[in-house]
């Protein structure tokens, strides 16, 4: 019975996440379109609402091309590694009181572990395709993800110290019982570092150097086509959703809100998560891309020291007043 309930939860979450991925692409084009005074997709259905379905069908029926000198096994495995690691991270997210597929004690570490795996998919995709654009994209991505993962991990240490737990549900409960109700206020430095690292972890603008189209064609997915390309695309959007949900859970109080919305326990969670996803689009429409050395300098020389400072500060305040 327990197992059946878990399976049902997996199916529900999987379906909801996939639906969000489909419409995240649509809203990305719409939002950026409107920010650039264009309409965005308009042709398929009213206001282009069926565009993701058309895109999906198109990608599904495209020819699957594999470069002649590619390492086939690794070439097949790379997009799957990306997608599986992104999807596995969803399993520990608490969407509302008592609803997480797996409520484990090390939820936060588990998400780090899974997001660090995503870099394998990218770097192996770059290597196996045997193309220089792919390879450069793959190398850039793994260097970037490793560097920013340190900053991201350190930025969340403050949250762990305040809540005294790695369990995401417990972190939300600890926030509800804290004086400010959300960790955004006491952990403002950590939040800043986390948000910047969040963009870099998911390879999004302004840190989308791995797939910088003006210099690397499409980076690590240059040689991919059809469904395999779509898998990378899905992994990227799932990564965005996971990072947004993590930010909501760790800094914005998860599912709690100023008042309870009857019947929709996940109302506040979704609202906050949508804000972060909107932030991704907003930043993409606003900021130009960083140069590679600037990206590394920002990660190592600004974000990591800031995160370390935040840990020391949090520790001092907690030991003096907590």
């Amino acid at each position: 019975m327990e197992l059946l309930w878990i399976l049902i939860k997996i199916v529900i979450v999987f379906a909801v996440v996939m639906l969000h991925v489909m419409y995240a692409t649509y809203f990305e084009r719409k939002v950026i379109g409107h920010m650039q005074v264009r309409m965005g997709p308009m042709r398929v259905g009213p206001h282009g609402i069926l565009q993701p379905i058309a895109d999906g069908l198109k990608l599904f029926f495209k020819e699957d091309i594999i470069p002649a000198e590619a390492d086939k096994k690794v070439f097949y495995a790379a997009p799957l590694i990306c997608l599986i690691s992104a999807l596995s991270a969803v399993a520990v997210l608490p969407f509302f009181e008592g609803f997480a597929i797996a409520n484990i004690n090390i939820g936060l570490l588990y998400i780090f572990a899974m997001s660090s795996l995503a870099s394998y998919g990218v770097v192996l995709a770059g290597w196996s395709a045997n193309s220089k654009y792919s390879f450069l994209g793959g190398l850039r991505s793994s260097a970037q993800v490793i560097s920013y993962e340190i900053a991201m991990g350190l930025s969340l240490v403050g949250v762990m110290m305040l809540s005294g737990s790695l369990n995401l549900t417990d972190i939300v409960h600890a926030q509800m019982n804290s004086p400010y109700k959300i960790y955004l206020i006491p952990q403002i430095i950590g939040f800043f570092v986390f948000v910047v690292a969040m963009f870099a972890e998911t390879n999004r603008t302004p840190f989308d150097l791995p797939e910088a189209e003006s210099e690397l064609v499409a980076g690590y997915c240059t040689e991919y086509s059809g469904m395999r390309f779509a898998l990378f695309f899905m992994a990227e959007y799932i990564g965005m959703i996971v990072m947004s949900c993590l930010a909501v859970t760790c800094f914005l109080g998860g599912w709690s809100g100023p008042f309870d919305v009857p019947g929709i326990p996940f109302f506040w969670f979704l609202l906050k998560a949508y804000f972060f996803i909107f932030l991704y689009y907003w930043v993409r429409a606003t900021l130009p891309r960083y140069r590679y050395d600037q990206l590394m300098a920002l990660g190592w020389k600004v974000l990591i020291p800031l995160a370390l400072f935040n840990i020391v500060l949090t520790g001092t305040i907690k030991s003096l007043f907590g």
Binding site: V74, I104, L109, S116, Y120, W127, N167
Partner: protein, 168 residues
């Protein structure tokens, strides 16, 4: 169930280990190693050591193995480098050495007996969570070995810095 899982993880770890040392393509080795780390994390989970399992993946799979990949890419190895053996006809020496080592290990395993139980029972760890239990043990009972390990790592970091700086 637990024993079944243990045998699955243990067999896969051994099988993958053999496959890694025999595989020709170093990048495939790294990929197999990644799978191996996951199975080792599984073994930790069976021991209720969830923190160790997560750290195993984050540190070994997420950081160290990626650095291996970098090195492989920088030296551009597509196939294994072939070298002639250092000692001619060293094969028999190797076989005798391996058998001797195996017998030594076998002797050790046969004499294996469980040590006395410490204060951390499964119930206690489940109640206080593994992360907390481990933190307490490291920062109280084992503080000296922990600090020594930290200093050794620091020495390695300073050594690396010194080597990198010498060029100028």
């Amino acid at each position: 169930m637990v024993q079944l899982l243990f045998f699955y993880f243990a067999l896969v770890v051994i099988g993958l280990g053999l496959r890694i040392v025999t595989a020709k393509n170093p990048v495939h080795c790294v990929l197999l190693m990644l799978v191996l780390f996951f199975h080792m994390a599984g073994l930790y989970l069976l021991l209720n050591a969830e923190f160790l399992a997560a750290v195993q993946i984050i540190v070994y799979a997420g950081a160290i193995l990626v650095l291996y990949l970098f090195v492989l890419f920088l030296v551009d190895l597509r196939e294994e480098v072939k070298m002639s053996p250092f000692i001619k006809k060293g094969k028999w020496l190797g076989i005798v050495g391996a058998i001797a080592l195996f017998l030594t290990f076998l002797r050790g395993v046969m004499n294996f007996s469980l040590g006395p139980h410490g204060q951390y029972t499964i119930e206690k760890i489940q109640q206080m969570t593994h992360t907390k239990a481990m933190g307490e043990a490291i920062y109280t009972t084992y503080i000296l070995p922990f600090e020594v390990a930290g200093i050794i790592l620091l020495v390695a970091v300073i050594g690396g810095l010194a080597m990198a700086k010498r060029e100028k």
